[in-house]
Symmetry: C2
């Protein structure tokens, strides 16, 4: 039995297994990282672990848009200068950060927290679609419905298209404008890998959603 | 200012900074890993952090060879079937694991915990050389000194050669055999990247150290 299967220390083995459970981190890298942490000052390692535990335990989600936040309402939804009648619907927190980085968008967001995927057992009830629908309904009822725009900024794969179509069917009766990102990006690309220029263009050149 | 510079949450920023401080983990990967951890069940994240803190706080080092261990004496130094008159001197814990993986070595180890490097401010006093010297001295005095072999299994770079030479000068007067790894490996290669076959050969074909 190779020695890597029976670690010199149970503590080391536990740490390597925990680190190796992270996506994209192999067993060899996990061992390297564990031994790196072992060489760091004790307070640094405690700070490392604390910051992760605190993130998981104490983070909050904006009651408006479900974005990560330290407050009840996130910094975007609290910003009076944003256009509250334009809602950009994204899959994840990371997508909000990517779009904000382009500096091209001044509306608000709605973070679905996932994407409809029958294969992965994710249905509409597992993401924040119903909250989006009631949010759009409230907006449409307060003032001119045609002033409201919902931008479907989801990935271009089957799950993304399915989710876009599902949302479109739920909100089209409100008479609001529904658009989707201009595909300057290659079909099927994830938002997170797009460069800021391309992503910025996609926001600016968004098109009316025609299913 | 791009949004990535002002994170949506202080907690997220702290976690990304902590994860990004690991070697080989960029800011983008750190964000991905932080958001991954955020999606995991709370007890998994606690276990993740605990295993790292416990490794750092509770790990012990073998009183004989300085290998990582859960006990006062490591599993290798406790193994009566090993050859205690052959000591393989390595820089790090990882090197012990690599050599054990070859299955070619049945002696014991001495982990220096570093390498002499004037540029990085690491002198002989910062690693476990003096403990190695007294260990070899004791072995040489108990029985036939020429039965004792010290294998210098350090990297082939300047620091490794310097450290080997330093150790050689300290222990040559004991009349013990001093060998170094056969260099089937390319000059300057690190042990950790060698395949097991090459590394196993290097142990088997070790040669008398002639400075």
């Amino acid at each position: 039995m190779p020695f890597s299967e029976r670690y010199p220390s149970r503590l080391l083995e536990d740490a390597v297994q925990a680190i190796g459970s992270l996506p994209g981190v192999g067993k060899r890298s996990a061992l390297r990282l564990a031994l790196h942490l072992l060489r760091q000052p004790q307070e640094n390692v405690h700070h490392f672990a604390d910051s992760i535990v605190r993130l998981r335990d104490e983070v909050r989600y904006c009651k408006e848009c479900s974005m990560i936040s330290d407050e009840e309402t996130c910094s975007i939804c609290s910003d009076r200068s944003r256009d509250f009648r334009t809602i950009c619907v994204v899959e994840s927190v990371r997508d909000v950060m990517s779009i904000e980085n382009t500096g091209q968008y001044h509306g608000v967001y709605h973070v679905l927290g996932g994407i409809i995927s029958p294969i992965n057992g994710v249905g509409p009830g597992d993401i924040t679609v119903s909250r989006l629908v009631s949010r759009v309904g409230t907006l449409a009822a307060s003032g001119n419905a045609s002033d409201v725009e919902v931008i479907l900024a989801l990935s271009g794969d089957v799950e993304g298209e399915t989710t876009s179509f599902y949302i479109y069917r739920q909100i089209s009766s409100f008479g609001v404008k529904v658009s989707s990102l201009a595909r300057g990006l290659g079909f099927g690309d994830d938002l997170e890998y797009a460069d800021e220029l391309t992503l910025g263009r996609s926001i600016t050149n968004r098109q009316i959603f025609k299913p």
